[in-house]
Symmetry: C2
Subunit: 96 residues, 2 copies
């Protein structure tokens, strides 16, 4: 029972972190599609703060042994990849 | 056993959050005492980012039912009180 409960907590922790990563992606997507500047918006500041917040959450989950260090790194890497794809798509769109 | 394990996790979560709050306080203290500008340094940006990170951790712990909402709010309130006391002491020092 105790192992089940803890593994339930781990799953929940991982799911919450994935959800938060998705929220950042959505936020940035909205920002990009709503700004019509010639260059893509200087969204770096918002992004940096959001990424910092997520990395604090991930670090906290690792210190509580809820997720593995690799899992946390994987979440951040995946988000960075998706953000970078979004940014490139945005640049292509504006340069048309 | 399962309750014990979960309550152990809760205690650990709370202790980690307190530790992180203390780290922010120390960081700000070092910043203030090392800068010799006539006014206290514009440390707001660093502070905002750090506070945002901590509030994300606290929110995460609440969503995992590791700490209560009041406990989380208490941690942030306490830190804000200590930071404000530090800031006032710093202003008094510089105005001497």
């Amino acid at each position: 029972m105790s192992i089940e409960t803890l593994s339930g907590q781990s799953e929940k922790a991982y799911a919450l972190l994935k959800e938060d990563a998705q929220k950042i992606l959505n936020l940035i997507e909205v920002q990009m599609s709503n700004l019509t500047m010639p260059q893509c918006p200087l969204y770096e500041e918002v992004l940096d703060t959001q990424m910092f917040g997520l990395s604090r959450e991930i670090d906290f989950a690792i210190r509580l042994n809820l997720i593995k260090e690799e899992e946390g790194k994987g979440l951040l890497d995946q988000l960075e990849k998706e953000l970078s794809a979004l940014h490139e798509a945005c640049l292509r769109e504006k340069n048309k």
